[in-house]
């Protein structure tokens, strides 16, 4: 372990803004991307089911 304290770790020898700015945005982008793909899947599923339901309904009426 090379850090003497949490504060040292957060400060990163004065470069804290840059280091955590990099890591932070990276984590943020990855989190957003994961949310995005999950949402895309949910949308795909709902689009398919809506079309299927509409299809079955139209068949029932005709």
């Amino acid at each position: 372990m090379i850090w003497n304290s949490w504060n040292d770790f957060l400060a990163m020898g004065g470069y804290g803004l840059y280091v955590w700015g990099s890591f932070g945005v990276t984590v943020l982008c990855m989190a957003l991307e994961i949310l995005w793909v999950k949402n895309a899947r949910a949308q795909a599923l709902s689009q398919i089911t809506n079309e299927l339901v509409a299809e079955t309904n139209s068949k029932e009426w005709s």
Partner: protein, 258 residues
């Protein structure tokens, strides 16, 4: 073996395979990230010249590598798709593009945050950063083209040609930018100038590289499943999927008051 490969070339067969595989890649990515960050943030010593600021390389270098690897992967799938006329190849190319673009952006972002404390400027026109910027534009162009074309098959093929043309051009672009840069000695520094890196630092960087790779694969597999669903939505096998049936039951039950 070849027969097996062509079996999975059909979206219907690839869909469940991707579904089984992506969690493994996600788990690997997580484990490797934890290990890599542990090494990089808690074991690797302070750099003699750059203090603690150098630790940005543990994300900057991996995302830069991956932005290039992913583009090559896209070109590979494009070549496959144009040669064998398989639908899945085009879907894989499109599944990879967003992750690649995001990595290219992160490379530029982390590069800027590294450059500011080290050389005093948020941006320097060094050969690598400039090439990365152009790579980012290539990604955006690819995504723009495939989204603008309505016909999915045409989008696949056009995207495939663009990815191949881009991949062939990337070395030319890199070489020309390097040439351009050395003749204009503005910031004559290289981002990965290794005053031989400590063993631990290199190790952590490589582990993080593989970690991001696993992440990219996991995401691409997950994303291609959604693409397959949309493209194949008029087929029976999609209608028979358990997740689709479950949702259809729900919808039908809820909306049956006709």
């Amino acid at each position: 073996m070849i027969h097996k490969l062509f079996f999975y070339a059909s979206p219907q067969n690839f869909y469940p395979l991707a579904g089984k595989l992506w969690p493994f890649f996600a788990a690997l990515a997580t484990a490797l990230t934890v290990w890599g960050l542990w090494l990089g943030m808690f074991v690797a010593p302070t750099d003699f010249q750059q203090g603690e600021g150098y630790r940005i390389i543990f994300v900057h270098v991996p995302v830069s590598w991956m932005s290039m690897v992913i583009y090559l992967a896209m070109a590979f799938w494009a070549l496959l798709g144009l040669t064998f006329n398989t639908r899945l190849s085009g879907m894989m190319t499109q599944a990879l593009a967003p992750t690649g673009a995001i990595f290219a952006f992160l490379s530029l972002w982390t590069g800027a945050l590294w450059g500011k404390p080290m050389w005093g400027a948020w941006w320097v026109w060094d050969a690598r950063l400039t090439s990365e910027l152009i790579l980012f534009f290539l990604y955006l162009g690819h995504i723009a083209l495939t989204s603008a074309i309505d016909d999915p098959r045409r989008a696949d093929k056009a995207g495939g040609i663009l990815a191949l043309v881009g991949a062939l051009n990337v070395p030319v672009i890199y070489f020309s930018v390097k040439w351009w840069n050395t003749l204009h000695q503005g910031a004559s520094v290289s981002l990965t100038k290794g005053s031989s890196m400590a063993q631990v630092m290199l190790e952590a960087m490589l582990i993080m590289g593989v970690a991001f790779w696993m992440y990219a694969v996991a995401l691409a597999l997950y994303r291609v499943r959604s693409i397959i669903l949309i493209r194949e939505r008029h087929t029976q096998w999609v209608a028979d999927l358990p997740e689709v049936r479950a949702q259809t039951m729900k919808n039908a039950a809820g909306g049956a008051n006709v």
